[in-house]
Symmetry: C2
Subunit: 863 residues, 2 copies
Amino acid sequence: MKYVYYFKEGNKDARDLLGGKGANLAEMANLNLCVPNGFTITTKACHKYYEDNGLSDEIKNEILEKLKGLETLTKKKFNDKSNPLLVSVRSGAPISMPGMMDTILNLGMTEEICEEMAKTNPRMAYDSYRRLIEMYSDVVMGYDTSKFSGYLNEFKKVRGYTSDIDLTIDELKELILKYKEHYLEIGGSYFPDDPYIQLINAIEAVFKSWNNERAITYRKVMGISDLIGTAVNVQEMVYGNKNEKSASGVLFSRNPATGENVLTGEFLLNAQGEDVVAGVRTPEPIEKLKEIMPDVYNGLYETAQKLEAHYGDVQDMEFTIDDGRLYILQTRTSKRTPIANVKFALDFKNEGKIDEKGVIKMVKDSDLEVLLKPTFDENDLKNSKALTTGLPASPGGATGKLVFTSEEAKNSKLEDIILVREETSPEDIDGMLSAKGLLTKTGGLTSHAAIIARTFGVPTITGASEIEIDYNRKTLTIGDNTFNEGDYISIDGTTGNVYAGKLKLVAPNETKIMLNDILSIVKKYEKIQVRANADTKEEARLAMESGAKGIGLVRTEHMFFNEERILHMRKMILASTLKERKDELAILEKYQESDFEELIKEVSPYPVIVRYLDPPLHEFLPKENEIEDFSKESGIDEWVIRNKIKELSEVNPMMGFRGCRLAIKYNEICVMQTKALINAAIKSIKNGLKPNIEIMIPLTNDIREFKYVRAIVEKTITALFKAYNVKIPYKIGTMIETPRAALLSKEISKIADFYSFGTNDLTQLTYGLSRDDAGKFLNSYYDKNIYLSDPFKSVDELGVGALIKFAKSSASRKIEMGVCGEQGGDYNSIKFFTKIGLDYVSCSPNRVASARLSSAKVQIENE
Amino acid sequence: MKYVYYFKEGNKDARDLLGGKGANLAEMANLNLCVPNGFTITTKACHKYYEDNGLSDEIKNEILEKLKGLETLTKKKFNDKSNPLLVSVRSGAPISMPGMMDTILNLGMTEEICEEMAKTNPRMAYDSYRRLIEMYSDVVMGYDTSKFSGYLNEFKKVRGYTSDIDLTIDELKELILKYKEHYLEIGGSYFPDDPYIQLINAIEAVFKSWNNERAITYRKVMGISDLIGTAVNVQEMVYGNKNEKSASGVLFSRNPATGENVLTGEFLLNAQGEDVVAGVRTPEPIEKLKEIMPDVYNGLYETAQKLEAHYGDVQDMEFTIDDGRLYILQTRTSKRTPIANVKFALDFKNEGKIDEKGVIKMVKDSDLEVLLKPTFDENDLKNSKALTTGLPASPGGATGKLVFTSEEAKNSKLEDIILVREETSPEDIDGMLSAKGLLTKTGGLTSHAAIIARTFGVPTITGASEIEIDYNRKTLTIGDNTFNEGDYISIDGTTGNVYAGKLKLVAPNETKIMLNDILSIVKKYEKIQVRANADTKEEARLAMESGAKGIGLVRTEHMFFNEERILHMRKMILASTLKERKDELAILEKYQESDFEELIKEVSPYPVIVRYLDPPLHEFLPKENEIEDFSKESGIDEWVIRNKIKELSEVNPMMGFRGCRLAIKYNEICVMQTKALINAAIKSIKNGLKPNIEIMIPLTNDIREFKYVRAIVEKTITALFKAYNVKIPYKIGTMIETPRAALLSKEISKIADFYSFGTNDLTQLTYGLSRDDAGKFLNSYYDKNIYLSDPFKSVDELGVGALIKFAKSSASRKIEMGVCGEQGGDYNSIKFFTKIGLDYVSCSPNRVASARLSSAKVQIENE
């Protein structure tokens, strides 16, 4: 068994064995880039380490053997004062892992070597030794940093120094003595003066850090297996702190924030790499290097080009300049903003580096949603510190004055406002629409607020659990900051960050052009059809502009929530006779008819799937504080209202008196909606349109139940067709959102013209998991690795997916089948739905573009 | 096609064609019993009638042809004044159907025939004619009865008559004239003086009445198909109103109330059959006939014996004595009380009429539950009128003083009380246990109150929607009656009837002996094992006495609701540190340990399946009006309590923070329950018992989830075994109550030692139907024939059953599988669970006997 590899022995595809860093170092070494020599101790050694509960002699020997080889390669000697080989030791797991032990520099330094080195370059010698002790104490020994880097900071502060450069040689020497004193004091042993002990301890420390608390937590959160293990890279030191012709820096082959094709990065003269990241001095922009060391700059430019071309993606590199000579210490695929990623992809295509399919593969589905949103100015962001971070529920930046109630949000139409709520209810929709952004304390990525927000494209953060709201005093408190109503805050729904004050927003004009470029490519490859969930003409238009193939879900209840209509809705619910109810329904019918007409106009000849009234009626009734007003307005006694509220209140509304159960008890509601829809369709024909309407019955769980509702609808349609002497094609289908409906598919498919799988409710029922309440315990489930992600985000193939697949495969005939609900816009779900042969997915208008991209991605993968 | 059959042409098995009445008349005619001659117009004719929208000439001709034959048989002539054939026309569907047109007597009477008959028997002549017009007007023409029978009542009242017999001949003649006048007045036509017209109209009226509103409603409620149709019987009249040697009566071959083997019935001298039923005169008991006409009595006795033997069941007969001659007009299987039915079955076996299997077939599962209950005295019942009728949720009679809160119920321990509530919550359990009976306004047969009531054997009526409760005034209003706290009421949980005052209760000693007789037979045939759901030693004892094979479900949460324990439970929930929580859990552990010890003692060596804490924690927190007291008692600030209540409140608690989710967030609860159970088992071993314990994890929906909880439990057990140096066999299994758990059975069965299907929650989730809220719309579903019965009563084979079957058949290995939940005691469900091969069902202790009977029934059917 081989546990250690020279860089030259590996390549970029050996990540599992060598870790990401090791594989890239190997690749670069083989590309003959100027990479300091070294070797990688593999992840296999890590497993063995845990198996043996320590580093075995076998592995130790192999390390020493490779170290000998390294001496040969570098023509230096380990533990040799005249020509010392010093090394860096770095962890490198196959997947990038914050929280693990990262880097120790200058390893191999001893007192003797230091003194010898000091003869020619005292600053470098003492500075390097100081750094070694500091890092070793911290990351290998786990000693309190206040005695080392903290002590140094104090030391400089007392002397008024702003930079390490200000330290005199004597002071550096003094520091080293102090460090050693502290080291002995804390651990009871001397700082090891044996380079071999330093090396073996450092390697073991890396392996140990694989299982430290932060790393474990990170893996749990990210769903990364504990079994991967980490590798360790041992590399010859080069010295950015040698002299004024030396430097350390980081470099991106293109701008990772804007996507511009310009070398981007920064560097520090006479410094080691950690200084750039740690911010002890302010680094210079990379352009400055062009002036100081034009040759080195050119070398960097060429290397960046070469690596980007070689890896086929924008690179993030670390480099060191050692006495005017350039070394590349690391390269990896650059992190980037969504906008930058899209620009990279389009530029790569224009540069002939990738083809259209390459663009589709490179652009992430989550990128596109962001392209439609205003974002915060990069500079403003840089200068602002997030007060807290919640869940990025609906992307985009928003800034405005704080308000705490939906009512206030509605009343501040002329001002930009941010609505802050503990949680939201359906009646907050008006308020949400009036707000620039929404911030809630509770709720997850698929909570009611989040779904509605994404539907309407309102930048939103949910589950910001650290915020404290006092509705009485109208204050928002985050940590030590308290904001009053009317104070400005800014929220970034793309990251989940909350900021104080007013951040500048950048309009998305340029990004819209990019979006269209992407979609014109997507169009050629997408397979499963994408429709949108839309309730208004604005949403429908937005969806069609993004290329939706119709509306997969009109939630008709949303049409009743505005101020004018809710009055009649409530009077309808409170009607004491059938006649009264019908009178109010007649008024609502006119509203709804014109809504439907508008929708058909936007979408025709593509289909409009109208879901009949779904939520429990109590959701429409006034809240306690609205009862008095409503009573005055409607002339209905308060006690009658209260009685009805009590009568309709439910223990488990999600499984209560809703869906087609409403139509069955109150046929007249179903008749009204049918009349409104058919009359709208008839009118649209007169206007030269081709209405394509599908009527969707919600919450079906029984054959006779669907038949009953279908009969009412058909009877109404037949009468209207007869009265107007027309015939319009239509379908009557059902949501499949109860497990029973899926199980009864064989029979239901005989009488339903289409299915729309309601994945939200189907997931709730299949799991027995209330979306609105899951926040109480889901974190425990994530912490304990039980659920790896929100069960509502991607379709659960084992349970919910199995039911959908069963419903599809057991259907008695071929009928249109699609998905509405949030999973309609999710990549993994789209992949599954494509695989089992569904016809379409329907998602919120803002996700249409990304869903289409996912559709194309899935198609390309399947080729 | 033959549409009309002489009685002699049919037999009892031709019910579908001849209807029940026709088939029995045919059977009796063939037994050569003295049945008036006649013929039956078949259900086929009924279908043809609806097809043709009227009676076709073909059928009319066949009727007339059979009428000719009847003239020959009776040696009388239709429409002949000198020797007139009069007939009765009666409906008779294959299934007994109240609400349909029933009977017209004396049909064929004309003015001329009446006058001729009056020459020899004027009273009979005019009385019969009067009756014909009255019935014809009512049932054939649908005229307002106030002008006929109502007019007669007025007529008698004015004259101070108490009986029809008091009417003089002249008055009878006057009545006939008045009737005819009214008849003309209402319908604008004369009363038909043509016997053929009378006959055809009457037959058509029967067919029409098949589709009258009451009949349709009845069929919907009972789940009877509209397609069966009804038959019509035309039968020669015999005259119970001929003279003082004539009579009409009803007779049971044994006593249908008590089950005693004595001829039971009543009769009226000189009356037609309807008088007995209508109660215009008070009938005489049948023993009286023995004195007056001993020969006729003997004839009746012999006929009853003959028919009972022939049909193999107790018969309910109608008879007429015509001038001293006995005629049997009808026989059918007698309705009976549950107690009577059991007695019939046991007596039949003793008389050698049926064997043991016959007993099992004859006794209904619902009978046995009643045998354990006190019932109301028959006489008291006869003299009381039910004020309203709710759902018979838990059988047995109860009488006591009204109270309106659980608190008051608990405080009145020395008195018999009836608790009346709008609905019940888990905290009402203490109150329910203190009450003799429970009456609720809302809730169905499977509502929380109903389930708990059956578990504890508390006679209960739920869903008594007509009652009005005013908690402030402490009044119960039913119609015009208002009761105050402390007033006596009586409720009959077997029938759902509510009575004013204090009805006498009869103890069930005798019936308990009968129950044991039945169970000793059942024991030889039962197959699927029956266990019980029991939380206390009393329940466990009751269950074991009824022959339960262990406890299939201990709901541990019930152990925390009593006054002493709830305090610690609440403090545990409100604990602000882990230590505080553990301190309270340590107290609860001791309680629970002793509970478990008691249960093991009752049940060992049979298994005790302990379900870990299941309900959402907010169910344990104080109600608004208890907060102040609890705050004082516990020393916890009110606002802390309120905050916790708010924090834990849920939108859909059924799918919320409950089940194993509690154990996952608060491992320590799960640890506490494990310690309590294992310590109890260890103690029981020291007491020489053989504990057989199974640990059940509730609400599992995931593989990792179950593994996680299992690991906690096993770790705790291992530590205890080590500490006490013992080993006790145990199982760790799970409820299968989410659809996902059923779908993941292949994997879950690898790591769970047993399954218990929780049919209540599985039904809720599969249907998307909240048991607590379904009352709002289920009636619409029944009315409209969508659900034929409560989805929670019997297992839904298409949906829920399919999931259970899938879970069973896809399991990776053979593990114990059973059902807990109300369906465990339901016959149809037991049949299904036996078919798919489950090992046991578990039901409330009071249903164990009936479940065992069902188990035996199913086994016999499958032979």
